[in-house]
Amino acid sequence: MARDEHSFMRENIPAYALGALDAEDIRALEVHLQTCEACRAELSSYRQLSDSLLTAIPPKQPSAALRKRLQGRLPSAQKTTRPRVTWSLSQLAMGTAIALLLLLNLFSLMQMREIQRQQAGLLQQLHTNQFALSMLAYPSTQSFPIAAENLSGSVLLDRERNTVALVMWHLPELSEAQVYQIWLIEPDGQRVSAGLFRSQAGSSYTTEPVYSKRDISSFTGIGVTVEPAQGSQQPTGPGVFRVDF
């Protein structure tokens, strides 16, 4: 190695240790350092000096606020800043009581609605019964007996007011999947649906009004069949009874 080159590199070591050497000189010096032990020792000496320059400044305390800010960045502070839900025994008891009250209210509300539904059903039934009773009071109302197995009753027909009422005793209760369907019978035997109904629960008789858009006199009879819950276009199930006018 040329002595001049070594001297040149060695002159750059103080600036290198200080971090002031320019980029192109750094590369050349670092290559030289790989093969020159004397220069590595020189660099080590200057590095200790530059490290010591870091501490050659008298201490100056930062503000007390900095310590608090720093503490606020630590995990424990992060945890405490999150809202923690802690329940005391009294709060737990209060919470349970409120939950029970809410449940009670909900139960009461459901019961009240059920009672209202039952009341509406009873009222409807009352109107139906009154309707059938009032039909009987009309002199023009005709009564046709229902003659069927295990079933009796009457079909009330008022041609002037175009109304019909069915009064049936001991009508069997059907499953949820079935329903009674009323059919008005045309002269050619065709059936026209006149409504769906169920037997009146808890009562020995069932009253059902029948309303027809067409003149009831155009029909020659009425019948009831058992059909699927949604009803049918034409009778498909077993007949319950048929009455000819």
């Binding site: 200080l18 010591s52 501490t55 400044i57 930062p62 503490q71």
Partner: protein, 181 residues
């Protein structure tokens, strides 16, 4: 816990011991902050750099190796790099007005009655003070402002050769004074 050494406390910090971390902060915050303030010359920016330095201690404590040097030196090296990065980010040129004369920066004489273990470093403080003004200026710009020799030549309007000569002379002077202690 006050009797624990720095390496022992760092080992605890590496395990997530916040109390040990705050003890190290109390021990070294003054030195770290003095350095960041010297570099940034702005109390608010200096506190941010000091905070970043200690947060790096918190997150990188397991990387510290005591056999490679003191914790204080490790912290100050991080602090210098953090502050110089901030200085570059702010695109600030070193202030060369009369009020920021590098000569003034070295006029604060440390308390000789404290930190006797750092007497050798303190002697370096006096060695810097004893430098010629133009030599002190290049040390200041290079080490505490992160400027290369070319940048110093540009800032001061000196020939690059003059800057190189003064950097070398200043460092040789400091080393001879420091080794003489």
């Amino acid at each position: 816990m006050t009797h624990l050494t720095d390496p022992e406390l760092v080992a605890r910090v590496a395990q997530g011991d916040e109390h040990a971390f705050l003890m190290l902060y109390d021990r070294h915050a003054g030195r770290v902050h003095a350095l960041t303030l010297r570099i940034l010359d702005d109390p608010m920016l200096a506190e941010e750099a000091t905070q970043d330095t200690f947060l790096k201690l918190w997150s990188r404590a397991r990387l510290y190796l005591s056999e490679r040097g003191s914790l204080l030196l490790w912290l100050l090296t991080i602090a210098r790099r953090t502050a110089l990065d901030r200085l570059r980010m702010e695109s600030r040129r070193p202030a060369l007005s009369d009020s920021k004369d590098p000569e003034d920066l070295w006029q604060i004489i440390p308390d000789l009655n404290t930190m006797s273990e750092e007497a050798r470093w303190r002697s370096l403080h006096f060695a810097v003070q004893s430098l010629q003004p133009d030599h002190r200026q290049v040390i200041e710009l290079a080490y505490y402002q992160g400027l290369s020799q070319s940048e110093i030549a540009e800032v001061l309007g000196w020939p690059l050769g003059t800057v190189k000569t003064r950097v070398r002379a200043a460092m040789e002077h400091l080393r001879s004074k420091w080794n003489a202690e």
